[in-house]
């Protein structure tokens, strides 16, 4: 909503300057989003008199003027032709800065001194184009008066961001009322002076409401013998100030009154209304109608239309029709002021994509009791500007009149909820300043009937809010609540999520957050089969773009895209992770599952470009190491790494699934070369995926901690040749199978292929550390134990000792 300082001041005589007014409005909940001060900084542009004008000696098109600014007479060179000696003009004095940062300086023009500039409308930002300089009415103001003051143009335009509940403030008067209530001063309502002719309105036109549910009130007036002409300057300027283009005197009045009082009005050319009748009815399904913007619209039975005897002439509350528009030749007018059901107008405006100032007000709700007042005010102004005769007595069909009942209001409840301690009288006074009617109930409460334009006030709490608002939020003391103690701690879920994020960060990984939606073919890029559940994503009904049209079923594609994008920016060494939800439809339930997932992607070199270590590329074991740390941290038991049933986006020889017991809790591996290509990744990428929900379930909370042994250890190494396909874990498992408490640690410390190792074999070296918690082990015991282990390896795994 756009309002101006001067216009508001016509209704309320406040003392606040524009800045103070802006602060006041904002603290009333009418947030001033921007303000523009017209003529601000232009006080050096003043009314002046041309005392002498003669030809410039060195330029045909320039003149030399002696200009009186009230204190001195200055030399000014001017290029305009449209003025003469003795004219009152506008002088921009040296030092003035005109719109467009144009600074006026003393200068020499073709050898002649010039101490200022005579201005045009354009130069002052008052018009797009202008033919010559401004010539003012003689004596308009004393010489030297700032011209914006002299012309009454000094004003401030406020743009107010209204909340949807304050439909009453979609008008100047609404905002003025709030200011008046806040400052406790009187409001001056605009005057209405009706001069009615002998003819009765209802003798000329008839109004029938066929759908009182959607149109509870319809009022109309008839003006004959008027003349359509351009609006007077004051009206053009007033509308321009709030961003409305002038059309003609009649249409401009309807717009002005809509802005002033908040009541949308419509003027029909009465001669073009067949049968001089108005019928308000629901449109017929498929009925067509051309609105004022020259668009043919196909209506539905849910649209409300204003018809004459034959056809629709307006889409009720939204826009008039081309067939009954006011034209230059129009001489008689039917002026409409009505109330339409907000939800219906909202639906119609939405369906036709047609949001107008009128529909905006109707859909938020206007003052049903102000319908006739606005009609009369507009009619009186039309007669004033366009002449003609106003027929006697408005038509006012009001089938939907509802008796409103007062709200029971307890002033002490207001104090209690807001946390203030105002006197009962002060509280009730605030409400009466808001034009509420107050009665006293027997039980000590008050009966409060809010004014009809405050449709947002329906309940006691609405009145309490008004008390808080008018008294001032800044006057409410900040207190700390007196609350009952509640014992609570983060859930295991929350705790583990935070811990895992910390752990991954400590593993050198960077967290990313991608959008939860993705392109429909994201699963395809992972080579998932058609029956893979991850192909069945939840679709958005109204996506912004196709790439964000389905909810993710896997986080991996997003992370790989992020990886590729970073590589494009030459960040080659990446360790990224994401902990977010995926969205999985559930058979037989409307709400999907939203489990949390963890994914990671690692690529590039292990240590970045360092000087002290070889710059090696990352591999599977870097990623597996991260996963191991994580599982270790959560103390998930029974982990095994299996290479069967891999997802198709993994390299089949360099990846595995992670089992906890028999339950698959995730996977880790190198990306399949084809998938790597699908994501335009040049170098291998190693990924992991973990099911957060399962991790939480499997994470062991209780740990038993043993004291370390105080006795010496003894280590033995075994180097063996084994077939290439023998998994290293078999060796360690075989060693641990002796189940001796004295085997403290088993560590693979070398895996070697090459010289001395036949093809198809690898050499694995294991170090076993023996130690007892109870005593120093005797050499013979160690030898015996070690021998048993070696025998087991040879017998069960057929390893060859080296």
């Amino acid at each position: 909503m756009i309002v101006t300082y001067n216009w508001l001041k016509e209704f309320v005589d406040f003392e606040a300057n524009p800045d103070e007014l802006a602060a006041l409005l904002t603290m009333l909940g009418l947030e001033v989003e921007s303000m523009e001060k017209l003529g601000d900084g232009l006080d050096d542009v003043v009314v002046a008199l041309v005392e002498e004008k003669r030809q410039h000696p060195n330029a045909d098109k320039l003149s030399l003027c002696r200009v009186n600014n009230g204190t001195e007479v200055l030399d000014v060179v001017c290029g305009a032709q449209n003025f003469k000696q003795g004219d009152t003009v506008v002088l921009a004095q040296t030092g003035a800065i005109l719109p467009g940062d144009f600074k006026i300086k003393r200068s020499k023009i073709r050898g002649e001194e010039s101490c200022g500039m005579l201005c045009s409308d354009k130069e002052l930002g008052l018009a797009e184009e202008s033919a010559g300089i401004i010539v003012l009415t003689p004596g308009i103001a004393p010489l030297g008066t700032p011209v914006f003051t002299a012309l009454g143009l000094k004003d401030t335009i406020f743009e107010i961001g209204l909340t949807p509940n304050r439909s009453d403030c979609l008008s100047l008067i609404g905002i003025a009322r709030d200011i008046a209530a806040k400052l406790d001063i009187k409001i001056n309502y605009p005057s209405i002076s009706l001069v009615e002719g002998p003819e009765k309105t209802d003798a000329v036109i008839g109004v029938t409401i066929k759908d009182p549910e959607l149109c509870p009130r319809y009022a109309a007036r008839y003006i004959s013998g008027c003349t359509i002409s351009p609006s007077p300057q004051w009206l053009v300027k007033r509308l321009a100030a709030i961003g409305i283009r002038s059309i003609n005197n009649v249409v401009d009045v309807t717009n002005l009154i809509m802005m002033e009082l908040g009541q949308p009005l419509h003027a029909f050319d009465c001669l073009r209304l067949s049968g001089k009748r108005i019928v308000v009815r629901a449109a017929e399904e498929g009925e067509t109608f051309t609105t004022l913007d020259n668009q043919q619209r196909t209506l539905t039975a849910a649209d409300l239309v204003i018809c004459d005897a034959e056809r629709p002439v307006a889409l009720a509350g939204v826009m008039g029709g081309l067939n009954s528009e006011i034209e230059a030749s129009t001489t008689s007018i039917l002026l409409e002021s009505a109330f339409f059901k907000p939800a219906a107008i909202r639906k119609t405006a939405k369906r036709h994509g047609l949001h107008t100032e009128s529909s905006h007000r109707f859909e938020r709700g206007i003052d049903i009791d102000g319908v006739v007042r606005a009609l009369d005010r507009a009619a009186s102004l039309i007669v004033e500007l366009a002449g003609g005769v106003l027929a006697e007595e408005a038509i006012d069909q009001y089938p939907g009149k509802i008796e409103r009942t007062p709200i029971t209001f307890r002033p002490e409840k207001a104090n209690e909820l807001i946390g203030i301690d105002l006197d009962r009288n002060v509280i009730l006074d605030i409400l009466s300043r808001l034009e509420c009617q107050i009665t006293q109930n027997n039980d000590g409460s008050a009966g409060v009937l809010p004014p009809s334009y405050r449709i947002d006030i329906e309940r006691e709490i609405d009145l309490i809010e008004e008390i808080a608002r008018l008294n001032g939020y800044d006057k409410i003391p900040a207190t700390m609540p007196v609350a009952r103690v509640v014992s609570d701690r983060p859930t295991r879920h929350q705790e583990i999520e935070k811990q895992l994020r910390n752990l991954l960060v400590n593993c050198g990984m960077t967290e990313v957050i991608n959008f939860s939606f993705t392109a429909p073919d994201a699963a395809g890029k992972l080579l998932l089969s058609d029956s893979d559940p991850r192909r069945f994503a939840i679709k958005l009904a109204n996506p912004l773009v196709d790439e964000q049209s389905v909810m993710k079923t896997t986080l991996l594609p997003g992370l790989l895209e992020t990886t590729a994008r970073n590589i494009n920016f030459r960040s080659m060494d990446l360790k990224l992770f994401e902990i977010r939800r995926v969205y999985l439809p559930r058979e037989g339930e409307d709400m999907p599952r939203e489990p949390l997932c963890i994914v990671g992607a690692v690529t590039g070199s292990r240590d970045g470009d360092g000087w002290s270590r070889p710059n090696e590329p990352v591999d599977f074991f870097d990623v597996k190491g991260i996963v191991e740390s994580l599982l270790d941290f959560l103390d998930v038991g029974g982990i095994s790494w299996v290479t069967d049933n891999l997802d198709p986006y993994y390299h089949p020889g360099k990846s595995c699934r992670i089992l906890a017991g028999r339950d698959c809790i995730g996977s880790v591996g190198e990306l399949h070369p084809s998938v790597q290509k699908n994501f335009a990744l040049e170098k291998p990428v190693f990924c992991f995926e973990l099911d957060f929900e399962k991790l939480v379930k499997l994470s062991r909370t209780k740990k038993t901690i043993g004291a370390p042994s105080r006795f010496p250890d003894s280590s033995r190494d075994i180097a063996m040749l084994v077939p290439e396909e023998l998994a290293a874990v078999k060796i360690t498992d075989c060693i641990k199978a002796v189940k001796s408490k004295e085997v403290e640690q088993v560590q693979i410390f070398d895996v070697y292929r090459g010289k001395g190792v036949p093809d198809g074999f690898k050499s694995i070296a294991v170090r076993i550390r023996y130690r007892s918690i109870e005593r120093t082990l005797a050499e013979e015991e160690i030898v015996a134990l070690h021998k048993e282990i070696v025998t087991n390896l040879v017998d069960k795994l057929q390893v060859t000792l080296r």
Binding site: P164, L417, D474, P481, E511, V512, P592, R613
Partner: protein
């Protein structure tokens, strides 16, 4: 024998004085005092002396040995000092070369801000609650007093899924889910991802919010002001000015927008605060009785407040980020700075 001892002594002392290396001194010790050393050999010869002479010569041997020993010790000491001095003379590294560090990862700024805010509210006795992102219209709108076709729904452009499901437009449905699950007192905050059908320089179709809710027997609007003052002071600094001004949300009444004194210019007015000196950071208010009705709370005997804020907005203010899109581009050159 005496002469032999004197000779040995002066020879030894000369040799010690002439030796500068630790190794040479060690050799001298072995040659003289070792098991097969010269002095040891002489001492073995003591037995051949007269019983009367034996103690005298014995004493002499001991004093010679002590003298040699102490000369050796001090020579060794200074030789070792020399060795250290020589090492310190020559051993040099370029300490300006970068250290070998464990790579540091970073959390996303949205996670950082959520963690910080949650921990501030944990200190005020609020626990963390969560809810689904794909939500029923009833929880997201109706129970929060947005009736169907209500203009307030225009405040939030909604992504729809089928069957009256939608992507939640705010974290407020968690209020409803929490109150349906538990009776007062309620004190929760709910961080989460939310969605609006809007995308430009200042709007992202996905972003994050934190919702707060407190319901108890006598909670006032002044308490809301108190809690939010404590919160903003903890988050942005002790002296941060806080301003509540009237606003409108269907699920709170009275409602407020909460501004803090601009953290960029300190309230003098700048581009970020559009010269107002204030930055809007959250919306809040007293829970509307209509909401209590939907969760079967008795509005007459309890009261409470709710508030909600955008995490991205706070992250941008905290870290001086000018473009929200940076938060979702996931460029590591940006993320690694946190």
């Amino acid at each position: 024998m005496r002469e032999q001892l004197e000779q040995l002594k002066s020879g030894a002392l000369q040799a010690i004085a002439a030796s500068s290396s630790v190794e040479a001194l060690q050799d001298i010790r072995i040659n003289l005092l070792g098991r097969k050393g010269e002095l040891t050999a002489l001492m073995k010869g003591l037995g051949t002396l007269d019983a009367a002479e034996r103690p005298v010569v014995g004493q002499l041997v001991n004093s010679v040995r002590d003298e040699i020993e102490s000369a050796l010790v001090s020579a060794l000491e200074s030789a070792q000092q020399n060795v250290i001095a020589a090492r310190l003379q020559t051993e040099r590294i370029d300490t300006s070369l970068p250290g070998r560090r464990a790579q540091k990862g970073t959390k996303h700024p949205v996670s950082l801000v959520i963690e910080e805010i949650c921990s501030i509210f944990a200190g005020l006795g609020f626990s963390v609650a969560e809810g689904p992102e794909i939500e029923h219209d009833w929880y997201n709108f109706e129970a929060l007093n947005f009736p169907p076709e209500h203009p307030a729904r225009d405040m939030q452009d909604t992504f729809f899924v089928e069957n009256s499901l939608l992507l939640r437009t705010h974290t407020s449905p968690v209020q409803i889910r929490t109150m349906l699950k538990q009776k007062p007192p309620v004190r929760i905050i709910a961080p989460g991802t939310v969605y609006r059908c809007d995308s430009d320089a200042t709007h992202s179709p996905m972003f994050h919010q934190i919702e707060g809710l407190m319901v108890d027997s006598k909670v006032t609007f002044g308490d809301l002001k108190g809690i939010l003052t404590v919160f903003t002071n903890q988050l942005f600094g002790q002296k941060t000015g806080v301003r509540l001004r009237p606003s409108y949300f269907p699920f709170t009444e009275p409602s407020a927008e909460v501004d803090i004194a601009c953290v960029i210019c300190g309230g003098k007015g700048c581009r970020v605060c559009k010269n107002s000196g204030w930055l809007e950071i959250l919306g809040a208010g007293m829970v509307d009785p209509e909401v209590y009705r939907h969760v079967q709370y008795d509005a007459e005997n309890i009261s409470g407040f709710a508030f909600g804020m955008g995490i991205e907005r706070i992250a941008m203010l905290k870290y001086g980020i000018s473009d929200m899109r940076l938060l979702f581009e996931n460029d590591v050159r940006f993320l690694r700075q946190f």
